[in-house]
């Protein structure tokens, strides 16, 4: 017992402690440069070659979707019957033998090289000065312009997918997870039942009730698109809502709305952004698929899917018609997928598939 210190007897003198002063502090912060979370993420993203290539492709394609439509003087819905089935012809490049407007036709006599722009016997075709960069379709419409119009539709769908994810899925999941109990139970059972219906069926049924078109596609994305995000948001909410900072905020009198959107939301942005990025290619795919089975935007409007669907009908005779929309769609899907992969790895390096 005698070894125990008697605190009452300790006396502190004035010179027992001395001020260290600013100069003598160990500067840990200079050893490890202060790296903010977002800077860290951005840095990791920059080092991901695939993601950067994807991003550049998306920017290029978006740029062309905005500018490309008015670039060569043809409009997307004007039909010139005399200009049917013309092969691609591009000025300057035509001189080196490619894109000179000729195509190989397979006839019963064998393959023949045909050029509908210039005739070989010297007679005038009236098309000598006409250039269709990607050729024309069976109705004499410029494929170049139509491809970029179609790209606009795909990009619009991408935007819609993001909006739906954020507005419906995110709020639904956060609210369901935050309140828990009966609210959570009802909300999640509803989502589960909706998730049990294949989206294919939902879309088909919607199309019977509504006319095929962009509105219908938007609607069907709204009905099915948010469920995945709802799951992610709810799981994240369940993880975070018991933590101390939430308790602290509540103790200080914060209302539910403030806690959900101001306290918790900024902490789960990583998985949210990742999931949003992954839902974009899915939505674009859905549109292209619907257009391909004839439920896309009505003519003369074009989407990448409907262009592919139209060109498919004559793709053994005029394969060039299908090349441009398929390539753009493929590049767009690939780019969004690679960018999404990159963003996932940037937010959570542990998730990286080793």
């Amino acid at each position: 017992m005698s070894k125990e210190l008697n605190y009452e007897n300790i006396e502190f003198l004035e010179n027992d402690f001395e001020l260290v002063g600013k100069d003598n502090l160990a500067h840990e912060s200079t050893l490890y440069a202060n790296q903010s979370y977002w800077k860290d993420v951005l840095g990791r993203l920059k080092n991901n070659k695939g993601a950067i290539i994807g991003l550049i492709c998306i920017i290029l394609i978006s740029f062309m979707a905005i500018v490309g439509v008015g670039l060569n003087g043809h409009s997307y819905d004007s039909q010139v019957i005399a200009h049917q089935n013309l092969a691609p012809r591009i000025p300057v490049i035509e001189n080196i033998g490619i894109f000179d407007g000729s195509e190989t036709m397979n006839t019963s006599q064998g393959a023949v090289e045909v050029n509908k722009y210039v005739s070989n016997d010297g007679s005038k075709t009236g098309l000598e000065d006409v250039y269709y960069w990607f050729g024309t379709d069976v109705l004499g419409r410029d494929i170049f312009t139509r491809t970029w119009i179609g790209t606009r539709i795909s990009l619009y769908i991408a935007l819609i997918a993001v909006v739906i994810d954020i507005i419906f899925g995110l709020s639904y999941g956060l609210i369901s997870g935050y309140f828990g109990g009966a609210v959570d139970n009802i909300m999640q059972r509803f989502a589960e039942v909706l998730n049990g219906i294949p989206s294919l069926v939902i879309v088909t049924l919607l199309i019977i009730v509504m006319k095929p078109g962009l509105t219908t596609i938007t609607f069907s994305l709204m009905i099915t698109g948010w469920i995945g995000m709802n799951r992610i948001a709810r799981a994240q909410m369940l993880k975070l809502k018991e933590q101390e900072f939430v308790l602290a905020s509540r103790t200080l009198g914060a209302k539910s709305f403030f806690i959900i959107f101001k306290e918790i939301l900024p902490n789960i942005l990583g998985p949210i952004i990742t999931n949003t990025m992954f839902s974009i290619p899915n939505a674009i795919f859905t549109e292209a698929f619907l257009a391909f089975i004839g439920l896309g935007v009505p003519a003369p409007m074009a989407s990448l899917g409907s262009l592919i669907s139209d060109a498919f009908k004559s793709f053994t005779t005029h394969p060039y018609m299908i090349v441009a929309p398929v390539l753009i769609l493929a590049i767009l899907m690939l780019s969004f997928n690679m960018l999404a992969d990159g963003i996932r790895d940037a937010f959570d390096p542990k998730m990286k598939e080793m």
Binding site: D184, N185, Q188, R189, E192, V193, G196, I197, P198, S199, L200, V201, T204, L205, I207, I208, V209, R231, A235, L238, P281, F285, A288, F289, F292, I293, G294, L295, I308, F312, F315, T316, P319, I322, V326, L329, A330, M333, L334, F336, N337, M338, D341, E353, M354
Partner: protein
């Protein structure tokens, strides 16, 4: 486990009922009546309504409807083939779709697994890169891009396989559709297997197994693959969805007389009864498979079951 099982079954039945209700309501409230002849008197109409049970209250008709749908009585087709019962249409078409779909699942799973395992064993080599490229392409490109490419090069240029499906050469003409359809399966499974295998190969019990002297094929199949395969059940759901939507497009491209192309034709020609019947069949298949998958989860891995019971996921 019992509670979990009951809950899954209850939700599946609920979903099926919701679908039936939606289909029923759509039939009920679509404009028009089945008896459009203007010469019909009120009495005749009443008789007709009585004959087809249309004079009964909505609730009873709904139950009749459920009974009809579940027993496979889907009514008759209006436009595609006039007055043929839809069940007869399905009898010839469903097996074809199931066969092509089954082939795609089988081929896709085997190729995907092999690719994934090779990529994991030969980690960071050319094989690994090749698998990654294949899986990124397979996930990103719609199946009809593959279908078009395959039919152009192998069907049209080289004429190795027929361009269109024919009943006489059922297997040979289903080769291209199967390959086009299974690309997504290959990509998903290869990607997943690779990740899981890498994790398992780096684990302690693999080192233990190796130090015990187990080697080669036995080590790979008995110890690594078995553990890596469990989480693959989780990708089954997106795979089924991919196969279903894929089959619509593929069947159209290769003119396969299956239910996918039937649905496309029905949509394009507004054959309402056929659309409803197929919507029901697709949903029922999907719900059934999801139920089996969910139960399998629980059986195979108790951890998932417990987690699911905890937070209803």
């Amino acid at each position: 486990m019992k509670k979990y099982l009951l809950k899954r079954i209850a939700i599946s039945i609920m979903t099926l009922l919701v679908i039936l209700l939606v289909l029923f309501l759509m039939l009920e409230y679509m404009p028009g009546s089945p008896f459009n002849d203007e010469k019909l008197t009120v009495d005749q109409l009443a008789l007709l309504n009585q004959k087809y049970g249309l004079d009964q209250p909505v609730i009873i008709r709904f139950f009749n409807y459920i009974k009809n749908m579940l027993t496979g009585d889907f009514g008759v087709s209006y436009t595609i083939s006039k007055n043929t019962p839809i069940s007869t249409l399905l009898q010839t078409r469903l097996p074809i779709s199931l066969r092509v779909g089954g082939q795609a699942v089988l081929l896709g799973t085997i190729v995907g697994l092999v690719l994934g395992v090779i990529a994991a064993i030969k980690h960071n080599t050319i094989w690994d890169t090749l698998t990654t490229v294949i899986s990124v392409l397979g996930v990103s490109l719609p199946s009809y891009v593959f279908a078009l490419g395959l039919s152009y090069y192998l069907g049209f240029k080289v004429t190795l396989f027929p361009l269109l499906y024919s009943a006489e050469a059922a297997f040979k003409s289903s080769v291209l559709p199967t390959i086009a359809l299974c690309m997504f399966t290959i990509a998903t499974i290869a990607r997943f297997t690779r990740t899981e295998m890498l994790e398992v190969l780096g684990s302690d019990y693999m080192q233990l197994a190796e130090s015990k002297g187990i080697s080669g094929i036995k080590l790979l199949t008995r110890h690594a693959l078995r553990n890596a395969l469990i989480p693959i059940i989780t990708v089954l759901a997106p795979l089924i969805v991919g196969l279903m939507t894929g089959s619509l497009v593929i069947e159209k491209i290769f003119s396969i007389p299956g239910i996918g192309s039937l649905l496309v034709t029905a949509i394009q020609s507004n054959d309402y009864n056929v659309i409803v019947a197929l919507a029901f069949i697709y949903s029922a298949m999907y719900i059934g498979i999801m139920l089996v998958v969910d139960i399998l989860y629980g059986v195979v891995d108790p951890r998932i079951r417990l987690a699911k019971e905890d937070n209803h996921e």
